[in-house]
Each structure stands twice: as C-alpha cells, then as structure tokens.
Subunit: 651 residues, 2 copies
C-alpha cells in the first residue's frame, strides 16, 4: 500500500486527495486499516470469545468523529486528531449488537442490543455458506434428480426476502438455483419452481417446496467471454493511451476518498480553490450513495419478494470488484485497494477497488469566437479536463459503475448500470429476450446523501421557481414572460420535491455569505432525468423504499441519519427511513443541512440486454451558482500544444 | 480539399463516411460545391443580371432529390445518380423568389414569388452593411457625442425584430450598439436607450429614437483573452494526446455528412452494421437541427422583441466558425471545410468547419465480474469508443457546440451552449452579474428533425406506457406493480407528447420486421431533461415557436416539411410551423414518419456566466430496442494492450 500511496501523490500532483489508508498519521476520516480491523476483532473477541460463542461481524466501519470535532481539527490539522473508533454490528444469540470500540484505549465504549425491525447487512461468508446448503439437502437432491439435471452443475444464489406485512420474522433468505452446464452466465438457466428458505442464524434450510417443473432455458447464446466466442467477430477495438508529455494536469478540488463496506466510495471534505480569494472554499462535507432500491415488477409466487436494497442488504462496498487496468479504467489511471472485515472480523483486501484518472474526453470548457469587432477575429478556447474516481460493484447480476467526476467547477456523479442476463423467467411481466427467457420489468433508484456545506456549515435550500407572468395592461407588445420567484425552504416539508410539477432551480445557498454584487453564494443541483416510483405508496416494498417518494429531500444534519432505508434494511418495515425522519418537519433554514437526491431508471428490458446489457447511465451535477464572483475558469491557461507524439509501443 | 479527403479515408479507416465534397462522383446528398455555387450564380444572373438588378441570394442549398429516388439509387449505386439541383431563395424588388436550378442542364426549372408572411435567412453581408449605417447617420453621431463617447469605438450589431401582431411589415432589423473601448467582449458595454431600425431592402435607417441615457457598464472584468489576463492565473492545463499504436479503431456506423448554410451539419443515411445478419441496416434517413428558438424574458421597450430563431433567421451553418485544433477538438481529430454562398452568390469557405474524432472518454461499453461460479472468477470488460462529429456555430453572443456521437449501437446528439457575456442590461428581469450588468432570463429550445427509417421506411411510433397495476384480489403478497401497456400512435395527435405527465418509453418500430423471438424491431428515444415553454400559448413569440409546445411530435414524411418554424422565419406569423402542419392530424401508422424532438434549457444567469459562460449541455440518445436479436457489441474484441508509450514531444 505504501508504494501505491507514493505513486498517487506523484502522479496526481496537484489533486489533493487524502487517502484511504496511509502509513503515516491518520486523517480522522480515513477508513479502517487492516490492522485496525484485526484490533477490533481482538477487542470484541475478548468480551465475546469466538471459541465459545458463535459471533459474526455483520458490519465493521469507521465510527466517524462528530462533525464539530472534524471541523475543529481541520482548522488546526497539526493538533492531535480525535480518537479512532470503530462501529460494529455483530450477530450473537440471534440478536444484533451495536458495539463501539475505541481503538486507542482498546476498549468497548458501548454495547447495545437492537430490538427493532430488520436485520443488518448480509456478509459474503454467510451468503456463501447458505448457498452451499442445498448440495447436501436430501429433498433438493431429489428434486434435481427428478429434473434429470446434474447436481454438480447446480449453483444456488441468495436473495433477500423483503417484508410483506408479516408480524413476526426470523433472519432468513431465499435461495434460487441455476444450472451452469454449458454457461458461465449464472442467471441464464434458472431451475424454477423450487422455494428454499434458509435461517441464517441457524444456518439451515427451514422451508422447502418443489412446486412445479419448468424447462431450463438453453445455454446457447448466453456466453459473453471473448475467449469462447465464435465468428463472426466484431472488429477489434484498437487500444488508445493518453500521452501527457508535461505530466498530468490540474484540478482545483481537494477531497478525501474513503471506503465503507456498506456505502462503497465516500467523498468527504470536498472544497474548491478560489483563485481570486486565494483559498479553498468548502462545498461538500460528505457524499455517498445512501441506498439503492431495486424492486422487480412480477407479483407471482416465486418473484413477488424481489425488492432489493443493494446497499443496506448486500453492501455496495462489500460487492466492489477488482478493476481491470486498460479496460475498466484508461491507461493513465492509478489504482487503490480497499479493505473490509469478513464475518469473523479478519480483514479482506479488494485489490484495485478504485481507479482515479484524469479524463480528457474531447469536451470544451468554454470558448468564444468574436467576429464583430472590426479588423479582428478573436477565438479563445479551453479544452476540458476532469478527475474521475471510479468503483464498480457487482451485486447479483448487476454491475454498477459509480463515478464521481470533479470538473474544474462542477461535481458530477454518475451511476452506470450493466446487467448480466437480466434476471430471467418465463412469464409475462417482462420482455421476451430469447427462447424461454424473459427480462422482468424493474426499477433502479439510487439515493445520494449529499451533506453540502457551501462556504460554511449553515446553509439554506432555495427553490428558484420559474413563473409565467401575463402582461395584461398592454405595457409591452408581449403577452407573457417568465421570471424567477425565490422561495426559501423553512422546514423539511418545503423542500420535498418531485420533479415535473413546476420548473425550478434548486440551490443550496449560504445565507451568511454574499458575492461582491450581493448574491448569496450557492451550489445548485442539476438533476438527471426524473424517475418516480410507480408502486402504490401503501405497498410494502414502497413503504420500505419511501425515501424515493420525492426526488429531493432536505434534512437538518444528524449524525445518525445516514442510511435512507434505515440502519437495518434486511426485512425492514420502513420505520427508520428518510420519509419517517422527515415527518418531524424540522427547521432547515440557515442550518447545517443535508440534501438527499434520488435518480433512477425504469428498466423495460430489450433484446439488446441479452446476455449482457450494454450501458444504461444516469447522473446529476452540482454546479456553482453565484458561488464565484465571475467565471472561475476564465483564467485557465490553455495547454501547451501536444502534437501527435513519436511513440513506440514498448512499455 | 482532395488531400483532406484522403486523410479522412486513411485515418478513419472503417468509419464509412460519405463526404461533404468529393473530387470524384457526387453522392446525391453531397452539399453544393464551390463550383456548383458559382454555376448557380451564373445561371440565375443570366435571367436576373446583377448589373441591372439588385438581386441578393438569401439561401442557396442542395435541392435534395426525392426520397424514393435516393433510395432507388442506393439500391444500385452504380446507376446514374439523380440530377443535381439547387434551391435558391433570392430577394429581388422587395420580393422573395424561390428558384430551382438544374445544374446538369443549367436551366432554371422553376421560379416562384413567395407571397406569404415572413422573410428568408439574413445574410452576413447585409447584416454587416446594416451595422455600418449608424457610423454615417447624423442623428446617431449626435447621440454618441451627447454621451461623451468616441464614435470609432462604437460597434453596432443586428437583431431580428420578431412579430407582435402587426398586420403589415417591411423587411427590417434592429441595431443595438456597443462600446468596445477597453474590451473585446462585444456585448459587455451596451449603449442603451437608442432604437435604430434598418430597412434591409432599402438598406437604410428608417426609424431612429434616442429615448434615454443609461451609464455604459465598465470594461473592467470583461476580458477573456489569455494574452491579456493578469495574475493570479489558474494553473496551466497540461496537454494530452491520444496514442493509438494500431491506428484508429472501428465503429459499425455508416453515414453521410452534409453541410447546409441554414441547418449546419446534416446526417443522412445512417445505418448500422449487424454482425449476425452480416449487413448494414437503416436507422436514420436524415437528421439535423431544424430550429433553435431563443426567447428572452424582458417585456420592456428595448428588449421585448428579442425572441430569436437562430437557425431560420441567422443560419446555423452560416454562423459556423473555424475550429481550433487541439482546443476545440483533440489531437486525433481530422477537419473538414464547408462552403456556402454569399449575398452575391459567390462561394465562401469556412475552414475546419467540422472535426471528426474517435472519442476514448474512459467509459465502459459493457462489463461483468462473475464470482458465484465455484472455482472461477470471470471478468469481461470492453472499453467504450465512439465517433464524434462536431461543429461550432457562433450566433450573436452564443457559441453552440453541436455534437453527433456515433456509439457502437447508439446515436447520441448533444448541444452545448456557451455565452459570451450573456446579453446585458440594467434591469430586473435577470441576475445582477457585475456592476450595472444583468444577465436577462431566457430559454434555448433546440428542435431536431429525425427522419428515422428503422430497418426500412415504413415505421410506427409506439408509446410503451408504464402503468401501475393494483393487486386487489390477494393473489400476491404485493399490493402493486407496474407493467407496460403499448399504444401505437395512429395519427399525429396520438404522438404529441409532453414529458412528465406519465412515464413511457417512446419507440419507433418497424411493424413489418420482427426479431427471431417476435418483437418488432425498433429504436427508442431517450430524452434529455424536459424543458417546456413558459410563455402563454397565445403570445406572439410562442405562436411562432409553437413547435416547442410538445417535446415530441411525429409527422408523416413530407419533403417540404423541414423547418419547424417555417421556411420564412424572420417576422413569421406562425402559419407555417410544425404545430400548424400537424393540425391536419394525418395518419402515421406504418408509414414513413419523422420524429421531431425538442430539448432545451431555461437559463437563469449566474455570476459564473460572466464574462464568458462555462458549459451548459444537453442531449438525447437514440438507442436500439429489440432492433438486434441480442447485445450487438457482445462480440466486440477487447483492445490490444497499450502501455504508457515511450514518446517524445516532437511533432
């Protein structure tokens, strides 16, 4: 890790990135290191010896210091950093324990049993153990035999069960099994008709039903590996590499990148350099994907429960995959590893979990050609460059590519979704993709947590409504025009917005800071296309996913309100969601506020999505709005010319 | 041009682009060549000798052959191409003549006088002549003297006057003058309070009014040229170049690129290669920006009329500017020149009007990591590459960047807008940007003409409505789900869509062609964010811009229906718009249909837009939807590895 660290600092030069893991002094927001995970395990096992008790670690992450402590440390970074603490959710005797461990004093600071609804993150270890159970479960072996299939070619996969009004629950999941004979496309050949329920605390099959036999779809056409494709081939992509004779460029952002087993990438303390003021100014205290809700739209027995919460149930960070150099990220990318804790608390490494690269996508930052000045033709153009931070998480049959793009002034977030044989069954609630293969309708809702601190903590949320004014007094040859009517959101309900009802610009302003000419400094949200939930509000999945009922919510900052679907999402009953917190209708004017934004896709599968779906992408921008006194990139100097370089293809 | 041609064919290898101008046989859709412009002029001047008559050429462009003729020629491209014809709009004796010239027989085929409302495209020559008039107009000289300004530092600019219910009209424009003392930012220092009206057919000032004196805003802070900026500087952008040791890559699109003085870039005959069927399949017969409507939102005397139609009034192609290598387009771009005819019919060259480049933006075409297959980890990733066609038009203080992006399966259009000191006045209908400087609220609506021919000419437009179904009979633990209810648009009114009312996928299908499993082949529109007009429907500018009343319209193909705002847009009265044509409510099912799509921006200026605005971008995608039997890029072979090359910075 230390050598990677050096590489980063060297290559990225003027991108000030605080790192995930440092061999030197910790930044207080650094993710837990492998040795810290080990230490947490040792300390917890002292109280709950694993030799005697069947304790599992469902979540271990940084218990981040309170915001005032971080801000006070930031104002004097040479002072002693706040103590390092870990937050642990452990499962013991069928109970969820919330344990806070102080790493410097090496003691458990608090240990509480959670008695509410829902269960913690599922670990990969327990999902793997559960998926192995059918191989030795006699009724299942019998069912496979009855279908004339070969048991050694059957692989089972785990599915969370959701909540549909049950009063009592156990910590269970469902298994669906697939036939991998002739395919590596796991979801392509489902063995339908069998219901398998596993109790995770007992780690045994507690329900079994072989209801009906359905033909297994063919393996044909499900292959996606290059090595096994048959002609005709598509043309080969030619390789391309970015050459920067003067080294990498610049950016005016400073931020901290963290990793969490649940959230994946966490961007903190993003601030932007103001050339005129000659200092960094705060923009985003903390931003991450808070939840990812994926309800399927098939109400039948074997499918109704599929209403996944990919972050809170499966862990977006836990699902991160190693990125492939020169394919997932271009040649000029640098890579960072990430760590999380396994069920038994030992650290697990994800190599190349992040890549960071400078993006020269052929865009233009600003330009102007002036032909009206007599005797002169003026042409000024600045090419655009941005810094990308990328992570890919594979959850079930989805590959999610999460990009944070730091443009010279703008912060852009993008989620790109790829499906691996979009879950398949023979049923009418979807599109016929291939023989016996239907892609079932579903949605993806990505809810972002954006704790904006625009030039300081106390901010307000302003709706600049665009309103038509009718000219009725013949004061103008016009009959109408539009103007901006600003509305400051006083309480949470004022800031609950569904796009499409009326046009407005949504700005987070600092009411205590003004530009020279007197506008409040701000950053505004430029949303992507609006995607609203189509489930009934009173339907169980939508009660659990009620944080998607609005596109935008604003809450006062509250350290405990991080997860839009609640801390315990698996089988949750929707009593700990953003929608419930916001019922208090707290004051949000001139306060430390958090913006929650949901973007998403309705997915009507089409044949092009088979067997692996191409890009489906969406995102949004945070754009300065009277934050600067004038165009902040005006004084960007154009690049030195790079002609086609003389290069050889030798590494 | 011939050498450029060779370069293109060499560099772009497998991109089959028919070119603007070819030294060999014409493609029937090729734009007029310089010698053809000269020929048109000669032929027209034979009938209307310029020595005797004051004839001006307002428009000369290809009179494209009828669609059946093109399609029949395409089926046998070795046959004799259809005759080359030019369409001319000339101004003579205060009348607009529509003249069709046959270039092979060298005769005027038809010559009609237009008697309807509105006037043709303004030429650059007449705009320049008009803007010079005040310099010798005594009352104006007096007004400038009265303000204590130096006449030689005053530059006037031309503005179309719109239509506000007048029953009679002359061909006039208005002039606004600016003070360029100490600035090259033309619009930064308006000399307000003076109204100047020029009759273009007489080429003289016909109305003059010096109503009030307003202080001219300061020059300070309006500079944008790098050469004159003062420290502190932003960091220098480091140059970057794309290196492709194996040469440029591939794409599976074939298309024709044309240039028109009014429309700018025209993409024709775009078809995509189907690997399985081993042939090209039609997608887009013709696509271009049909109109660009920019209404300002200030109802006062000096501003109310500013409701521009940038394409029909000023000519998007005529406004194209030379692209700057390594700034407007990356190092791997190739450039193409374009030609149009001046007022007197002689050809004018725009060097480097287009650039075409392969775009490696660090995106991923598709990927999957499979971890659930015991004993194997499978990771397949394909980086994305696309072909960009770019043109920049500077209309007044706007720089519009128009990109057509050909992705491996998807056709994406993007319009990017930059303002040069967003039109400025001291007034409340905008944002205070700097001292005495207000950016006035306005909109940009880009209306695209998309004559889709999906796998053949006869297509239907299908709305796949996403509808919530309530489960009321307890047949499922669910209470709701959504499904797709398809609706085929029978007539034009069925296809008039405003986004945001209900979710739907919009697909142009070929009802006569099906995939193997029986879906109709199609391409769907993935719109950008919706921007609806906020002017009253009965307001004059909105009557003229009524084609923006819906986001989507579908019409049966009609060669004469090309310009959404009408053929004669200057001072038009809205009687020849898409909205009027569509009142006929023609049949559109299983017919040759045209999709009209409007995307846009409401612009509430902010200080970051001063003195030159950074990127504001929007666009949309055309994406195959059951067009292919399965993922068409599955068999794309990954690129050969390119390591960081050993390069020198010598050209």
């Amino acid at each position: 890790m230390a050598s990677t660290l050096k590489l980063i600092l060297f290559v990225l030069l003027s991108f000030h990135i605080f790192l995930l893991v440092s061999s030197h002094q910790h930044h207080p927001l650094d993710s837990l290191t492998p040795s810290e995970f080990t230490l947490v395990r040792t300390i917890v096992n002292k109280t709950y010896p694993s030799s005697k008790l069947n304790i599992t670690f469902q979540y271990i992450g940084l218990d981040e210091p309170d915001k005032p402590i971080i801000l006070s440390w930031l104002s004097n970074p040479k002072s002693k950093p706040p103590p390092r603490r870990a937050f642990v959710i452990a499962r013991l005797d069928k109970q969820s324990h919330e344990i806070i461990v102080d790493l410097s004093t090496r003691v458990i600071v608090s240990d509480k049993v959670y008695h509410g609804h829902g269960y913690p993150l599922l670990t990969l270890d327990e999902q793997f153990a559960a998926s192995e159970l059918p191989q030795t479960y006699e009724p299942f072996i019998e069912s496979i035999k009855k279908r004339g299939l070969n048991l050694s070619e059957v692989v089972c996969s785990t599915f969370t069960v959701g909540w549909f009004g049950e009063l009592k629950s156990k910590r269970v999941l469902k298994l669906l099994c697939f036939y991998i004979d002739g395919t590596v496309n796991l979801y392509a050949r489902p063995v339908e008709g069998i219901t398998l329920v596993v109790d995770l605390d007992e780690m045994k099959i507690v329900e079994y039903n072989d209801r009906l036999i359905v033909p297994v779809p063919k393996a044909e056409g499900t292959e996606y590996r290059e090595s096994t494709q048959k002609p005709p081939f598509g043309p080969r992509l030619n390789g391309a590499a970015l050459v920067q004779p003067d080294g990498p460029g610049w950016a005016n952002w400073k931020f901290h990148l963290g990793f969490d087993v649940r959230a994946g990438p966490i961007i903190s303390l993003a601030s932007i350099y103001d050339l005129e003021k000659q200092k960094y100014r705060q923009v985003l205290y903390r931003g991450f994907i808070s939840e990812l809700f994926v309800p399927y739209m098939d109400p039948t027995e074997e499918w109704y429960y599929k209403t996944f919460f990919d972050s809170g149930e499966f862990g977006f960070g836990q699902s991160a995959v190693s990125l492939k150099p020169l394919a997932d990220c271009p040649a000029n990318a640098v890579f960072l590893d990430a760590y999380y804790a396994s069920s038994n608390g030992t650290p697990v490494k994800i190599s190349n979990a992040f890549c960071i690269f400078e993006n020269h996508a052929g865009n233009i930052m600003w330009r102007h050609t002036e032909t009206s000045i007599p005797g002169e033709v003026i042409r000024e153009v600045r090419p655009d460059v941005s810094l990308m931070v990328r992570m890919v998480a594979t959850v079930g049959n989805y590959d999610y590519i999460i990009d944070w793009e730091f443009k010279p002034r703008i912060l852009e977030m993008k989620g790109v979704i790829y499906t691996h044989t979009n879950q398949i069954k023979e049923n009418v609630h979807g599109t016929l993709l291939a023989e016996n293969t239907i892609g079932v309708y579903h949605d993806h809702f990505l809810t972002y947590y954006l704790d904006l601190d625009v030039d300081g903590e106390d901010n307000s949320f302003v709706k600049n409504n665009l309103e038509t004014i009718k000219v009725t007094n013949h004061s103008s040859p016009r009959k109408s025009y539009w103007t901006v009517v600003s509305e400051i959101a006083k309480t949470e309900s004022d800031a609950q917005i569904r796009f499409g009802l009326k046009p407005a610009e949504l700005v987070v302003v600092n009411p205590n800071k003004k530009t020279k000419v007197g506008n409040n400094v701000g950053y505004r949200l430029i949303p992507g296309s609006a995607t609203h939930p189509l489930l009934s509000y009173n339907d169980y999945p939508q009660i659990r996913g009620a944080f998607t009922n609005n596109d935008v919510w604003v809450t006062p900052y509250n350290k405990s309100e991080k997860w839009a679907g609640g801390l315990y999402v698996d089988q949750s009953q929707g009593d700990d969601t953003l929608a419930v917190w916001s019922l208090r209708n707290r004051k949000i004017e001139n306060k430390d506020i958090v913006l929650w934004y949901t973007t998403g896709f309705h997915h009507v599968p089409c044949q092009e999505d088979f067997p692996v779906m191409p890009t489906l992408s969406g995102g949004f921008e945070l754009r300065p709005t009277n934050f600067f006194d004038s165009n902040p990139v005006l004084k960007t100097r154009p690049p030195n010319l790079v002609h086609w370089p003389n290069c050889t293809n030798k590494p």
